[in-house]
Amino acid sequence: MRPFDYMRAEDLQAATEAKGNGATVIAGGTNLLDLMKLEVMAPERLVDITRLDLHNTERTSGGGLRIGALVTNSDLAANPDVRRNWPVLSRALLAGATGQLRNKATTGGNLLQRTRCYYFYDTAMPCNKREPGSGCHARTGFNRIHAILGASDKCIATHPSDMAVAMRALDAEVEVQGSGGTRRMGLDALYRLPGDTPHIETSLAEGEIITAVILPPPPTAATQVYRKVRDRSSYAFALVSVAAVVAMDGARIREARLAFGGLGPMPWRDGEVERALEGQEPSDALFDCASDILLRDAQGQGSNDFKIPLARRTLKAVLREVTRTEAPA
């Protein structure tokens, strides 16, 4: 770990200023310190924001939920309002990491965690995300945990969060504070696809800090499910995960919001999948059609080819569950 100057921000302005001047923000630290110990990340300055007043979760005037960026994953998962009204978010949080990590990891930090790509983590290996232009060693290497959607020839890393997958399905927005004031954006706008610049992962500007996540009001009469498939029964990253928020209108699907983990460089969502489902009567054929759409551009990299059938199977099972459709005999 490289030496750094440590400063504790007493207020948000000091924090955004420090970040604008090149400091790296530390909150829970569960991923940043992990990476700093390996010198995958080597900031010269750290600004500690843990004592800022961003620890509250409260209803917005419009009936949504404003989650402070420093709310821990544990507190968010255990929040009674979240458990009752946004259960997919609790479920996703509880499917991730461990009790100890969730007690430390924060909402903002969870969104901004880096990929778990083995080659990103090993400074002796080429990695365009860590060292732009050095190459992607994962594409031709061991890539069991890598992306099948949204990757580029420069980077095939996945985003490892469970929480963010549920948030994406819930149409969450992040509130961002910078020197120029506050702005809000959806997760689709927060995250960037790797393209030719996999080292640029978000659209946050230099001095911007995530201050909150805003959930819209709870979906009405919707079934919410988070399903995670992994290599051991606990404490493993998703091979595939599906967050589903689906509402029925009689025998037909009124609204479907589906997000996916383990498949792409960001929590994945595909509007065409949802449009294919909405207004339709659930059936295995329909679910196959939705899976076809989701996976139309899917590309395996060798060791992760299995994610294509696994994603199909998992999506179909989740759709059966939320629409209470029997599997064909």
Partner: protein, 169 residues
């Protein structure tokens, strides 16, 4: 950097390199070596301590971030001759073999039971609301952040459930 930590009820002021993890501050600077380093990356749980009432991995935080914070380590629970009930249950149920992950298991179990008493659900809870029955499965899921390569898991689960009053032996 000067930092004051309240550990097991005692105040310690130390002057550390800002890079010092809370774990290394305990082990290298305060000679509190009961807290173990198994991976240094939050992947094994051997370094689990209780920070301001919550179990965390002490390897993944900096000592300087915890000025004024309250920390409980394994040394604060009990010592030979005066073990606490959880420690005694671990001995009775052989919830360890080599002993290296054990302090982390016990600290984690201690923090975990507090989480259960607050009604926190887990990944395996059938419902997100209501009381949590401390089944074998609930304990196992909530303790999955503490690896044990000797694989003393059956004894660990029994020791915890007995301490929580779920089963009597």
């Amino acid at each position: 950097m000067q930092t004051t930590l309240k550990i097991n009820g005692e105040s310690w002021t130390l002057d550390v390199d800002p890079r010092t993890s809370l774990l290394d501050a305990l082990r290298h600077h305060l000679d509190l070596t009961g807290t173990k380093k198994g991976c240094d990356h939050g992947q094994c749980g051997a370094c689990t301590i209780i920070l301001n009432g919550r179990r965390i991995n002490s390897c993944l935080t900096l000592a300087v971030m915890h000025d004024g914070d309250e920390i409980t380590t394994i040394e604060g629970l009990g010592e030979p001759g005066r073990l606490n009930p959880m420690q005694e249950a671990f001995v009775r149920h052989d919830g360890y073999q080599c002993g290296y992950c054990t302090p982390g298991q016990i600290m984690s179990a201690t923090g975990m039971l507090d989480e259960v008493s607050q009604g926190w659900p887990s990944h395996v809870s059938a419902s997100l609301e209501g009381d949590v029955p401390l089944s074998r499965e609930e304990v196992a899921e909530r303790m999955s952040g503490n690896l044990c390569r000797c694989s003393a898991y059956p004894g660990i689960v029994r020791a915890i459930r007995e301490t929580a009053g779920e089963v009597s032996e």
